[in-house]
């Protein structure tokens, strides 16, 4: 079958899709976007977290056909067109939250959603928001530090922006 969807702002079409394929398989193997990772393929680890019409989902649990006509954002679609990293991506590097990095794309997509919704999350809020993303390397401490740092930097920039606007 044919599946047409919008990925990271670009219309994309995949032909010859077997109906049992997941959105994850289509993204990785048919559209050349391997950033979303295939760690468990049963919705337990969060490594393939993407935004589907704005909602966080595990792409491995979405049948390819369900994504027909949908807007999908993957980790490849987060950095700016000039390669500018988002505050979350920068913070992951600054705090040492990237080791093997296999969980990183999923964690970053989930963390972006949290920071977009709440610039002052408590540690409990961060833990709850990221509890669907397994990491085996970092012990999560650096991940927590990254989200705190990204939220604080974003909040600072928002404040500075507001002050500039007011002037």
């Amino acid at each position: 079958m044919r599946v047409s969807l919008t990925v990271n702002g670009r219309p994309r079409t995949a032909d010859g899709v077997w109906p049992g394929e997941s959105l994850l398989f289509v993204l990785r193997e048919r559209l050349g976007l391997p950033g979303s990772k295939n760690a468990c393929e049963q919705g337990e680890c969060g490594s393939c977290t993407v935004r589907l019409d704005g909602d966080l989902v595990c792409a491995c649990l979405v049948a390819a056909g369900q994504a027909e006509g949908a807007e999908v954002t993957t980790v490849e679609g987060l950095a700016g067109p000039g390669g500018d990293l988002t505050p979350v991506q920068r913070a992951f590097l600054d705090t040492g939250a990237v080791q093997c990095g296999f969980c990183t794309p999923g964690l970053i997509v989930a963390a972006e959603a949290l920071v977009a919704a709440d610039l002052h999350p408590s540690d409990g809020d961060i833990r709850e928001a990221l509890s669907g993303n397994l990491c085996r390397c970092t012990g999560y401490e650096a991940v927590l530090a990254a989200v705190r740092l990204a939220a604080a930097r974003t909040a600072r920039e928002a404040t500075a922006g507001a002050e500039t606007d007011a002037r």
Binding site: G20, A39, Q42, A79, C100
Partner: protein, 791 residues
């Protein structure tokens, strides 16, 4: 130092929290892991695995599978071109089962097809006729009279040393005269301990791409821990000379020991050579659990005798490790368990025996901590029992016996570098404790924060039956390969001009598995050569071996090799500078692309020399030699280096429901020299959390039928961020005079002590003896394996 919370700006040399060279690609999603590889015209490989733990294979019929449209090849043992077995230490593992399967999940047949689902469905159509055999699943069934012998034709080096052919390896360690000393002890504590089967569970699945080459050889791109060990095992299996088996490291999604043994390597190459097309293999999570070795489950019996003041008089220990169906690295695991069996404590009299069994359980091999983890849970549990029996604080009884430089291990090896066990224990003890009842509302009228309670958002308690406990532990781990192994690492460094500026290219075959070895190699080159830009091409087998990325050895070994190669390049640059450019004699150093004399005055630049062409040197680095342990007494200078980590755990236990929440897990570790403080801290956090997992949740459940019952992330539980406590870290730097920069292997020690520390805290909270990990709710509420404290 305490742990840094973010990368410091700096020159990116040794001692800086330099940034990872692969970091940006990993956060934007373009870093290519082994499962991301693609090739035009590629096929997908799939493995058919045994549903039985022990069975005779009577017949294999592949006709139906071959008939499936899209299938390019179906292979069985009958199609193997050359050697039929492989192995890390003992060549006992079939590439594909021939007449017998020895464990659940053993590979039986291979399929290559144009779609992964086609390959899976075709594999399901391979008809294998089995006759089930009795399952050997523990020491009793393995050594009973008439027990099935799993490897009747053994010719390995250990076969002559063991009491039964199903005993894979056995290592005693005897020091002093335990029998004579025992009556002089004022107090004796004994205990039996058990450790479940833990899995490394790296997030990246086993995967690789094999591409047949025009010269009849193969190019394999794969996630592994040791390229050259793969090549050494693969070449005979493929019937190719080693130089035609070219292996390049593909991006590795974590390892922790799971990638020391072959997984997809041989199978993908066989399918590629058979079909003449590139073949990609990617395990799903269930196959990953079935397709790699695990941490050895263990049963341990310990007896400690001490004087009234806590001074240890003697220790007796027997450690039985379940090696599963094939040897993997079990002999070395036995050596570690035996030689590190009593921990970082002075004991004049010791009588230790460690052994590994062949069984029909899943094969076990390397996992972070490698034999020392099992012993540490037992000896630290024993130290707590001793403290209880003597009315001493658990830290005091440990400090009284703690080793330091100059003390002797039970193998007779004298510790000839700093080993500040007492200081590490005091450091974690003296940290302030976290606030009590953290779930209680901070403002009047606010709701309690359920997330801070055992059970969390499940809303199982509001704190009624919750009790707090505190526990301590310390562990000792060897770094690098031991027992006389010729352990070395190769590095090649080239210094040249690029756009007028010096750039260093550092090549090694060291596997970057997430730990940050690429960062460290660049830091070493910057420090030694005074350059900013360092390039690291992907590791492959065209360069000499770097050894394994395991045993906490890669910063020491490949870091040491890069340092040595840089020194050779520097010497050559200075020689040329003196001969051709009139640089003065005496001590010169390189900094910022310039050449400085002892007073810091510039005498020239790297460019002066490099304008004439690059300077390149390749060297092989070896650590100081070690000795095998004596087969009868276990005496010998078997280890290169010892490393220590201590933990204090604070837990809260819901005693009504048996739920545990670890509130805080504080670590103190001596790393000799923190080459990259941020990375070292990450190793301590990650290692500690894996130990926490073993303490309270992680176990592959294997029934008496030898089958793994929970090979999935739904049923094999690894800690989430909600299961993770706050983990403060204190890093000590007491340089090892024998090691490059004084560093000490850091990746494994935190995995040892965190498990017993957490369990000690749960014991403190509940009063139960808790002799088995992982601790499960029924141990805490049903008084089964928890057992009463006087037990």
């Amino acid at each position: 130092m305490t742990a840094p919370d973010r990368a410091r700006p700096g020159a990116g040399g040794v001692g800086d929290s330099a940034a990872r060279p692969d970091g940006v690609r990993k956060v934007i999603g373009t870093f290519a892991y082994s499962s991301d590889l693609r090739h035009d015209d590629m096929l997908w490989g799939h493995t058919l695995r045994s549903p039985h733990a022990h069975a005779r294979v009577l017949a294999i019929d592949t006709a139906d599978a071959r008939a499936v449209p899209g299938v390019a090849a179906v292979l069985t043992h009958a199609d193997l071109p050359a050697a039929t077995h492989y192995g890390l230490e003992i060549t006992d593992q079939p590439v594909l089962a021939a007449d017998r399967v020895r464990h659940h999940g053993e590979p039986v047949a291979l399929v290559a097809a144009d779609h992964p689902e086609t390959a899976r469905r075709a594999a399901a159509l391979v008809r294998v006729t089995y006759e089930e055999l009795p399952v050997v699943h523990d020491e009793a069934t393995a050594t009973a009279p008439g027990a099935p012998v799993l490897h009747p034709d053994r010719t390995d080096a250990y076969a002559a040393r063991v009491p039964h052919p199903n005993v894979l390896h056995r290592q005693p360690v005897r020091r002093g005269d335990t029998a004579a000393a025992a009556p002089t002890a004022d107090v004796v504590v004994t205990g039996d301990y058990e450790i479940g089967m833990q899995d490394q569970a790296p997030l990246g699945p086993e995967s690789g791409l094999a591409v047949p080459a025009d010269d009849g050889g193969i190019d394999l791109y794969v996630a592994t821990q040791w390229l050259h060990a793969d090549q050494r095992q693969l070449a005979p299996v493929l019937g190719l000379p080693p130089e035609k088996v070219r292996i390049t490291l593909a991006g590795v999604g974590g390892a922790f020991g799971a990638r020391e043994d072959l997984s997809v390597q041989a199978h993908a190459c066989l399918l590629a050579l058979s079909t003449g097309r590139p073949v990609k293999m990617v395990y799903n999570r269930e196959e990953s659990f079935l397709g790699h070795v695990h941490r050895h489950p263990a049963r341990l019996h310990y007896e400690h005798g001490a004087l009234r003041d806590g001074t240890l008089v003697y220790v007796r220990a027997r450690i039985v490790l379940d090696g599963g169906a094939y040897a993997s690295s079990s002999p070395a695991v036995v050596g570690n368990a035996a030689s590190l069996a009593i921990g970082p404590y002075r004991v004049p009299h010791a009588d230790i025996e460690a052994l590994a069994l062949y069984t029909n359980n899943p094969p076990c091999g390397a996992m972070r901590g490698f034999g020392a983890v099992q012993a540490c849970f037992a000896y630290e549990s024993q130290m707590d029992r001793l403290a209880d029996a003597l009315g001493l604080h658990p830290v005091d009884v440990r400090v009284r016996n703690a080793v330091d430089r100059g003390d002797t291990m039970p193998t007779g090896q004298v510790i000839d570098a700093p080993a500040p066990a007492a200081e590490l224990l005091r450091t974690v003890r003296d940290r302030p404790l976290p606030p009590e009842r953290p779930w209680e509302p901070t403002a009047p009228g606010a709701a309690p924060d359920l997330r801070a309670l055992p059970g969390g958002l499940s809303n199982t308690t509001h704190g009624e039956d919750v009790v707090r406990g505190v526990g301590y532990a310390i562990g000792i781990k060897n770094a690098a390969y031991s027992e006389g192994f010729d352990d070395y690492a190769t590095a090649r460094v080239r210094l040249e001009l690029d756009g007028g500026a010096p750039v260093a290219t550092v090549r090694s075959a060291a596997a970057e598995v997430g730990q940050g070895n690429v960062t460290v190699q660049a830091q070493v080159a910057r420090t030694e050569l005074g350059v900013t830009r360092v390039v690291l091409p992907p590791p492959d087998t065209t360069l000499g071996s770097a050894g394994s990325s395991s045993a906490s050895r890669q910063t020491y070994m490949t870091g040491g090799a890069v340092r040595q190669a840089c020194a050779a390049v520097r010497d050559e640059v200075l020689r040329i500078g003196r001969e051709r450019h009139g640089w003065p004699g005496g001590a010169l150093r390189l900094s910022g692309g310039r050449v400085l004399d002892a007073a810091g005055t510039p005498v020239g630049t790297l460019a002066d020399v490099l304008r004439d062409g690059p300077v390149e040197r390749e060297t092989v680095f070896r650590h100081r030699p070690t000795e095998p342990f004596d087969p009868v007494t276990g005496q010998g200078n078997g280890h290169v280096q010892y490393a220590l980590c201590a933990h204090r755990a604070v837990v809260e236990v819901d005693t009504a429901l048996g739920l545990v929440k670890v509130v805080e897990l504080a670590a103190a570790q001596d790393v000799g020299r923190a080459v990259n403080p941020l990375a070292v801290t990450g190793q301590i956090h990650g290692g500690a959390l894996q130990g926490l997992g073993l303490a309270v949740m992680e176990e592959i459940l294997v029934g008496p039928d030898g089958r793994a019952r929970n090979p999935s992330f739904t049923d094999y539980l690894i800690p989430t961020v909600l299961d993770t406590p706050v983990m403060p870290v204190d890093i000590l730097e007491r340089p090892d005079p024998h090691a490059p920069y004084g560093l000490r292997g850091a990746g494994e020690p935190p995995t040892l002590s965190s498990t017993p520390a957490v369990v000690a805290a749960v014991r403190d909270a509940t009063g139960l003896a808790l002799r088995r990990v992982p601790v499960r709710p029924d141990h805490l509420v049903a008084d089964r394996l928890g057992t009463a404290p006087e037990d």
